[in-house]
């Protein structure tokens, strides 16, 4: 459909993407439950580096096969196979394949000025999220929102976006520091 084609058209040219992010978790009435900010880097296919800088430090790195979650406060690294379900790893929205996304979601498009908002409803019931929304401002992704069945929402706003700039491969590999607990989870 028209929405899916346009979304694919916006996503396909993205090979790398990096931005500052501001993540908020809001309850059904829009009250903010959590806030975190940091920087992220993405590289197709399936690689990303998601670094929370405040109010705590946390790093999530996908090398395309495994995801490493490093929590320095807890001195813990969790390693698990990359979960290709976008709602479990929203960063895959950009570094995954666009047509795989539109295959799994009904896509509706709305335009307001230069803002294009795509609302994605999963075709098969999804455990985590009931609805995904991507908003592009002048063809650049600026906002991602994931709402669950109780109305709780994760809203991620992106700023200082750079698309297709070169990104050092070392950002997408993770060296497990010594002295941490390593927890390997099989999906």
């Amino acid at each position: 459909n028209e929405g899916a084609e346009r979304l694919t058209q916006l996503l396909e040219p993205i090979n790398t993407y990096q931005a500052d992010f501001e993540q908020q978790i809001l309850d059904g009435s829009g009250q903010r439950l959590q806030q975190a900010s940091g920087h992220m880097w993405l590289s197709r296919p399936g690689r990303f580096h998601w670094e929370v800088e405040s109010p705590y430090r946390q790093v999530v790195v996908s090398d395309g096969e495994d995801i490493y979650l490093h929590d320095p406060d807890l001195e813990q690294v969790t390693v698990q196979p990359l979960d290709t379900r976008v709602t479990h790893t929203p960063a895959l929205l950009l570094s995954g394949s666009a047509d795989e996304l539109t295959k799994n979601y009904d896509v509706e498009r709305r335009q307001q000025g230069t803002a294009e908002t795509f609302t994605l409803d999963p075709r098969s019931p999804d455990t985590l999220f009931e609805e995904l929304q991507l908003t592009f401002y002048a063809e650049e992704l600026g906002m991602l929102q994931m709402t669950d069945s109780t109305g709780q929402r994760t809203a991620i706003a992106f700023d200082n976006v750079e698309q297709n700039a070169p990104i050092d491969d070392s950002l997408f590999t993770f060296e497990i520091p010594d002295g941490v607990d390593v927890i390997r989870e099989t999906q």
Partner: protein
């Protein structure tokens, strides 16, 4: 993980516990953001913790990165409700609800005291203190709570890192942002 000795950012600044204990006891409202690391016999997980507390209402958000897999526990005097991605469940006690829904549980009713370095009023307890009188360990209700770091927050020194253990479960709480409210 190896237990290190108490790491106090600057104990010279930290005044005696006695000077602030009444204010810590009087503290009944706060917002805090931190982490919880949980180890049981068969699983080991970590999550973000966001806690809003007032005398007659509390809300604990437990969530993974990107807010995935989040669970919000809300409590009032009458009832406790857990909201997850799948829906809402209510019960009379938080402990039973967490155990039923998440497969693990923490003594939420005592946590609002332990998080401040205080024993819960309900039961007998044993306590060891450091040179300044701050609790280094509290034993209560079958749990052992070790305090290994403190942080300044609005004129009070409150726990930054505590480990809660009972046979079969170990929970590490790290607080990154303490906002006590008078």
């Amino acid at each position: 993980c190896a237990t290190r000795g108490p790491v106090t950012s600057d104990s010279a600044e930290r005044g005696p516990w006695q000077d602030q204990v009444t204010r810590v006891q009087a503290l009944t409202s706060w917002t805090l953001a931190g982490k919880v690391g949980l180890k049981t016999a068969d699983e080991s997980t970590s999550a973000n913790l966001d806690w809003r507390h007032t005398p007659n209402y509390y809300r604990l958000l437990i969530s993974g990165p990107f807010g995935a897999g989040r669970s919000t526990l809300e409590g009032t005097a009458e009832k406790v409700t857990l909201t997850t991605g799948e829906g809402r469940v209510s019960a009379v006690s938080a402990e039973a609800l967490l155990d039923q829904q998440l497969g693990w549980s923490l003594p939420v009713s005592s946590l609002d005291h332990w998080i401040r370095g205080l024993p819960a009023p309900s039961d007998a307890f044993e306590r060891e203190t450091d040179a300044l009188g701050y609790p280094s360990q509290i034993r209560q209700d079958g749990w052992t709570i070790d305090y290994s770091d403190w942080m300044p927050a609005d004129g009070l020194w409150l726990p930054r890192k505590l480990k809660m253990q009972r046979p079969g479960i170990e929970a590490i709480l790290i607080i990154n942002d303490w906002q006590p409210e008078a």
